[in-house]
Amino acid sequence: MLIIKDLYVSVEGMEILKGINLKVKPGEIHAIMGPNGSGKSTLANVLAGKEEYEVTSGEVTYTGEDLLEMSPEDRAREGLFLSFQYPVEIPGVPMVNFLKTSINEQRKYRGQEELTAGEFLKYMREKMELVDMHTKLTNRSVNEGFSGGEKKKNEIFQMALLEPKLAILDETDSGLDIDALKTVARGVNTLRSPENATIVVTHYQRLLDYIIPDYVHVLYQGKIVKSAGKELALELEEKGYDWIKKEMAV
């Protein structure tokens, strides 16, 4: 589904990613872990199409197509979803309008009929239950006045509505209490299917107690330095990132 080959990315002239290689197949959950500043969020953002990130070399193929050539909106319409680390507040854009526009733009792209207001509201209510989304939040502007946890929940709520093929969760666990973490994980697990894949980007192992990954990759200084099964996460938790740093130094 996603093949990243030797990807180099710079931000404002600074090289952040230095040769990333990664393959993600349908049905898989990959965890990307690493210390702060290792390039995890850069990877997530570059996949979503953020323009400040300059790809200096390498290629990314998504469902057989050149992902890097696609606009951010087309990536989303092709089923790629980024759960933002810091979701932005957009005062004046009502949540319901935003969600309806988002869904219908994607449906239009795929040649499906747009949902009517009634159909959309019914669909939205179904998904709200899944992540315990409260109407007090859907009645506001996008993320406006949401707490940190509510913003993250809102990301998973959008993911539930959009049913992406490939979801990238960028530090979705940061700033969540244990109940919110469980809710978010339940959302992700419910949406899991043999057709779609998830990349969980995280600093801590905690989330991986609830979302069990198939593969764990350690990103350090812009490179994936270690890849293994879910047991790697536990090892990291136990030994800390210093273990990787020391190993790298050797």
């Binding site: 979503a48 951010p72 957009i90 004046g92 733009e105 959008q158």
Partner: protein, 455 residues
Amino acid sequence: MSVLVEKADLSLKYTGHYNEVKDLLFEGSSHVLNAQRNKAFQDFVMQGIPTRKNENYKYTNLQPQFLPEYKFIHQREEVEADLNEVFRCDVPQLNTHLTLLINGWYYQKNKEAELPEGVILGSLEEIANTNPELIEKYYAQIAKTEEDPLVALNTAFAKDGYFLYVPKNVTIEKPLQLINLLQSNKDTFATQRNLIVVESGASLQLLLCNHTLDLNTYLSNSVTEIFVGENAHFDYYTLQNEHNKATSLNSVFIQQERDSTATTHTSSLHGGLIRNNLKFILNGENAESNMYGMSFIDKKQHVDNFTQVIHAQPHCQSNQLYKNVLNDQSTGAFAGRIHVMRDAQKTNAFQRNNNLLLTDAATMQTKPQLIIDADDVKCSHGATVGQIDEEALFYLRARGIGEDKARLMMMNAFAHEVVQEIKIEALRERIDDLVDKRLKGEVARCHECAYNCEC
């Protein structure tokens, strides 16, 4: 050198014109209006046509607008066409009948609006002649000719406009709709003088729309004096929708007595050059004033909102919120002066001006000004000039919303804060729709015109 000559010529031209048409101006007019004329014209000559040298017109030079050879209408003209047929308002009708004015003159074939007993709505010229006592007390009392050249020129030329009188404790349930039309066979200079008296305990909402009906060059110079009595409520909505060859100069003065509320809401959708002068005088305790404004301009359009709020009495509140969206090479200005006088303790005065520049060529000047002579007051002001938030734009795009649509959503969101202050639901929905069209670059025409010109 040539510019100097031109300026001198321009002043002479207007002086010459005044002397030439003086008899026409005095003829048929009430002594109430005539009593002001000569002094007003002297005040105009003293101050001259505003240029950037005039501190209050620092961002709007009006000399070029006064240059064309205009036709002046100093006497009532017969309007042959039935304007009710020519012009159709697309804003859902709020009252049974629209009240029309043409080139500043009250249209004589107006059908009567639905009004409660005692309310008067009619031609200023006519009522000043038949009932001067209704007008005398108020006319030229707050629009002072020595303080502004446009007011001075208007007072010198003033013949007609509308007069609206709402007696004590009368509530007009349905909003009144007044339409200013510009329509002529030549480039035209229109003068309009209005007076609104809302007596104590009375209440009404007024919607005013400005339109051009053909492609001639227009300059309209209007002055409106509004008196809001004790515990009265007055909402004044303006929708400006004129073409790029129109200069719209509007001076509105509102004096409020104790416990009254007055709100102005100005939507500048289209126009070549728009200058809105707005002055509030809070003349009684516990009065509340609200000023909202938004503009959407492109090409070489220019919008300048100039507000003054005089807090003369304690325990009053004023709020100002102005937002502008500027595209292409358009230019905008906002200057807001709040003056809290010595006795106006416990004043709350707020002002905010936010501007969105869509191109590098668009420019915005914003100048808040606080003058505070009392010591126990709460005042704040703030201004921003910025571009569309790129982070938010990316967020929307990352959810599959195309760039153009995402931008549009952001612009609508920006304007929304001002749109939502429209308290008449049908009007709010219509303006929401017009704003959306305007932002999409479609012609946001809020009326149908039988002439089918591109205006």
